[in-house]
Amino acid sequence: MGRAFRYYGKKRGHRRTGSPTLGVGIEAAFSALFLVAGCVVLVSMFIGEVVPRWRVNREFIETGCKVLKKQIEEKQGDDGPEFRPKLNIEYVKIQTPSYYDINETPYNNREDAQAILDRFDLYSPERNNLYPCWYDPANPYTVVLSRGYPRWLWFAFAVPLSFIVIGAGGLIHTLFGWGKSAERRSVLSRNGVERDFLGIRAHGDRRCPFVPEGADMTNSPGTKLKFRLPICGAPAWALFGTLALCVIWNGLVAVFVAIAVGGHLAGKPDWFLTLFIIPFVLIGLGIIVFFLRQLLIAAGIGPTRLEISDHPLHPGEKYRVFLSQSGRLDMNALRVSLTCEESATYRQGTDTRTETREVFHRELFLHTGFVIQGGLPFETDIEFDVPKGAMHSFAAKNNEINWALMVEGDVAGWPNYRRAFTVIVSPIVGDPDR
């Protein structure tokens, strides 16, 4: 019997199964939950934190008070001893001395609590040292020694507000698409979202929709040819990212290693912990090796410069490229290739994966067994053509077709390196033969 209602989604090869209705329902419920939770927390924060402070600032009456006694109340809390500073004050409205908690939050150490009390001196009739205080006209036994809104309060509001924004945004998105076909939603979002960064990136040149504009590739003039191409993926940022991963991963692992080693040295080895952390240590070592390799390539191999005679590229057209490789390198081989790669992004459960497949590779230049002298970069001109009928560059949300000029170096005694320079291939507009 066929199912009338598919209740799960799964990527099966090139197609996806699942229930769009259930998906929309879950999305709406999830957004509503966020919205309600955000509103509840916001209202409770407002009632519990803002309204009392607002009353203190607006309705409480100012008077002077005498500090008669200072003390620290010590209690055993869940996480150890707690120290709560307390003042015994007398103020003008009510002559009866009354205890007042300066700060309702107890402190974890006595010094902090004492620092609060040190702000106040005990009353002496000679000095007549009074401190300002504010009492509640509706209940004169309620008194405070400070007013205003603490800074943390406004930061705390960011939490429920972010929940409300996410929830409301999700609900609006769901309601916007409710009962509309995929095509109608696409048209409506195209009209409204063309300003969206993704739309701009994806649409690029309006004469060639969904062909990336490639502005980065034409904003830097070359010294020999028209444009200097930017290297794909800034190496400095990639290196920084690897370093950050290396420090965070190994920092965390080091804590557990220290605990395990400490146990062994103290004669109380924790073998479960010791065995458990071994794979994490090995991964950490792998990250260190990878980082050092990247560092070697970045520091030891000089910059690669690629200039091109024109951009964007068109199928069937000829172009010239100028290659410059700096450094002090004993090269086994240096090659330049024109490549085209398909890139597909898909979601599997909560994971987002991107798969790439090279569909075109043409070696344009190969030079073997030579030495690059320091201060005397290797330079060469290369001529190539983009195959007639080649697919143009394409960028949508989940699928891309990317062309690149790839420089690959095989250096004696060093790790091999590969530097990609993205180029845009675009059809010639208005020429029916292309």
């Binding site: 090139h14 095509e183 048209v187 898909y346 230049f365 080649a390 699928n399």
Partner: protein
């Protein structure tokens, strides 16, 4: 497929490859034993991706006919459509990314149900992936 609603789409010059900037025209009609169940008909000229990645889709041209706004509403009468095709994206048969153009007609029924019919066509003459990959002459120094 719903046997109660038969969607027919005919393209002028059917079967040929369309070039960027050319006019795509044709007509569609719906044969139904119960046309009162139709709430609206949407026709779109669109592209969508197939393959490994999640689907991307963009509508180039869109027409909608609401049954209660069009009197008399006769879905059996062939409805003409015409649009100028864009320069890109071109139809493409890649390894993990495929780009298909089509005319899609969606018949929206009452109670949220719908029936869809499609007619594919080719925009541009890009050969399948790998076709252009033969090695050319490699410059050697």
């Amino acid at each position: 497929m719903n046997p109660d609603f038969l969607i027919s789409i005919a393209l002028d010059g059917d079967g040929r490859v369309f070039r960027p900037g050319e006019t795509l025209s044709g007509r569609y009609w719906i044969e139904s034993s119960d046309p009162q169940r139709i709430k609206a008909i949407e026709a779109s000229v669109l592209w969508h991706t197939e393959g490994k990645g999640d689907e991307d889709m963009a509508v180039h041209e869109f027409w909608r006919r609401d049954a209660d706004r069009e009197l008399p509403f006769d879905p059996r009468r062939p409805e003409q459509f015409s649009t100028t095709l864009p320069n890109t994206p071109l139809s493409y048969d890649g390894r993990i990314v495929k780009l298909r153009w089509c005319v899609r007609v969606r018949v929206l029924l009452h109670r949220g149900k719908d029936v869809v019919g499609e007619k594919g066509f080719l925009l541009g003459e890009v050969p399948p992936a790998g076709y252009a990959s033969q090695n050319g002459n490699v410059a050697r120094k």
